[in-house]
Symmetry: C2
Subunit: 318 residues, 2 copies
């Protein structure tokens, strides 16, 4: 089976470890289309937080406790950077840094972002069973209009809002700079067209999946494959498990609930997986959106839960 | 007194600590014109080994034992870079890396190399009493034609010859790529014109001082100021104290001796300082080159020796 997964950062990373286990057992192939709206330049290097997060989770090199970056990490460069007056709010670890150096070198040499992923030839893909594609090789920036205080609105990069300002300012607007001029990265449209199953990972619908859907062509192509598309709710009992979806969903006109998250994809979904805690929403979602709903444990404490969740999602499509 | 010093790396760094002490005591101002022929791009960053070496020595942040890089250094990024397949023969420390990141960011933003040095306004220069100018803001590359084996000659960057190949291949030729099209960096010519004393630091005459003299205009301007120019021999008892001058001087037609080193500057020198061990060469050098020679301890075990050496050099010009 060919599977396409649309992915943001940590929630997607956890889920994809489970999906990957299923793929290994059942000989599926996973093409992961990752959000790049979060990408930002730090210290002259290109940082792709969601691509790196998903990669580290799948490779098992992530720091599970901290939730971002690599395990066994040190921060000696960061410490020195602080002493020398470089901005340090976007914390880069010493090991992590090599990822950014390597990517930036390749980009400077003229490679596209897709090419920097060193993506697999067919043999390698078949052996590993997953590959990552950026949503686009064109630059898209997720921007936030944040109200600093009554009437004072300031446009900032999503990372500035989330990491530097810790999601404190009130959000007035979210948009994806450059999205309308961007094109899907090579392989994305083909993968969607050929997919037997398409999974929207439990990621923020506004700033993780939103940018992917904003790349012209992608949403239309997904809609054509609606019968094989399933999503997992990132909202459990009216709150996100991590991140700031509760602050951004209302701005996008979405209720902060498993129903609200599903309605972000109302034109795309055949199935939707929600948590046990939201069992009472199941029939409401089925009626409101005309989708099949599965109820299961979605809180991914470990890879076993993630794998069971992945199986449940795929089963919804049978 | 306004002093100009022409400088390479470590030997210059040690000497300049002494010269700086004299400058502080006697209220001199030192403009250091530094070789940039060694500069190389590593991991997408611009590395300026001689500029950094001189800066670290003057700031006191150098690693005196190791001879290069910074004290209290760690190499976590380097270790990871090795695991990830990046070249590691040019070892960059974690703290040192910030220097290169910062410079590369500024260059990418359109700054000249001079501008990246964050050079002092007048007040700052007067307080600190030293400033560094690169020899040129244009790219000059010191190149080595190295004989790998009989008849097989391979052109390589100086750093590749020196650091990667540990000066093992036989050298057939040394040249400075880009030098003929380069211009002196802003301030260099003015500093030479206004100097009361010009000092050639005990650096490799071929690959440290050679590139500076190869920038069109600089050698001519120095020749005009010959009466106030003094140099310190980097060769003691027929061998360099550090580095590979013994391998490169013969290629440039220079004897590996205090006389040979002086003869690299035969058109420029009023005075030349040699080591006690070379006392018997003093009159020979005076006769052959028509310069005043001072004999003293030139082996800079500490800042006291370096300061005494600096005083001796300046005294030769009185």
């Amino acid at each position: 089976m060919k599977i396409v997964a649309l992915a943001g950062g940590v929630g997607a990373g956890k889920f994809l470890r489970g999906l990957h286990r299923v793929a290994r057992d059942e000989r599926h192939l996973i093409t992961i289309v990752v959000n790049t709206g979060d990408d930002i330049d730090v210290w002259g290097m290109r940082i792709c937080p969601d691509i790196d997060s998903v990669t580290y989770w799948l490779e098992g090199s992530m720091d599970r406790e901290r939730g971002w970056g690599r395990a066994d990490e040190t921060f000696n460069v960061l410490e020195e950077a602080g002493r020398r007056g470089l901005p340090t709010w976007f914390a880069l670890g010493d090991r992590d840094l090599v990822t950014h150096l390597q990517r930036s070198m390749a980009l400077a040499a003229g490679a596209t972002l897709s090419e920097t992923l060193g993506n697999p030839n067919r043999t390698w893909f078949l052996r590993r069973r997953w590959r990552i594609l950026p949503m686009s090789d064109d630059r898209v920036k997720t921007m936030i209009a944040a109200e600093e205080r009554e009437g004072l609105v300031h446009d900032m990069h999503f990372q500035e809002y989330w990491v530097k300002r810790r999601a404190e300012p009130r959000v007035r607007k979210v948009w994806f700079e450059g999205a309308s001029r961007a094109g899907p990265a090579p392989g994305v449209m083909e993968a969607i067209r050929e997919a037997d199953a398409i999974v929207i990972c439990p990621s923020n619908p506004v700033v993780s999946i939103g940018p992917i859907l904003a790349v012209p062509g992608i949403r239309d192509e997904l809609r054509e494959r609606r019968d094989r598309l399933v999503g997992i709710s990132p909202i459990v009992a009216g709150a996100p498990l991590a991140g700031m979806a509760d602050k951004l969903m209302p701005v996008a006109g979405l209720e902060v609930s498993a129903l609200g998250a599903a309605s972000a994809y109302r034109d795309l979904l055949a199935g939707w997986v929600i948590d046990e805690l939201d069992r009472d929403l199941a029939s409401k979602i089925e009626e409101a959106l005309g989708v099949r709903v599965a109820v299961t444990d979605t809180v991914m404490r470990d890879d076993d839960v993630a794998a069971a969740l992945a199986r449940t999602a795929l089963t919804l499509l049978r």
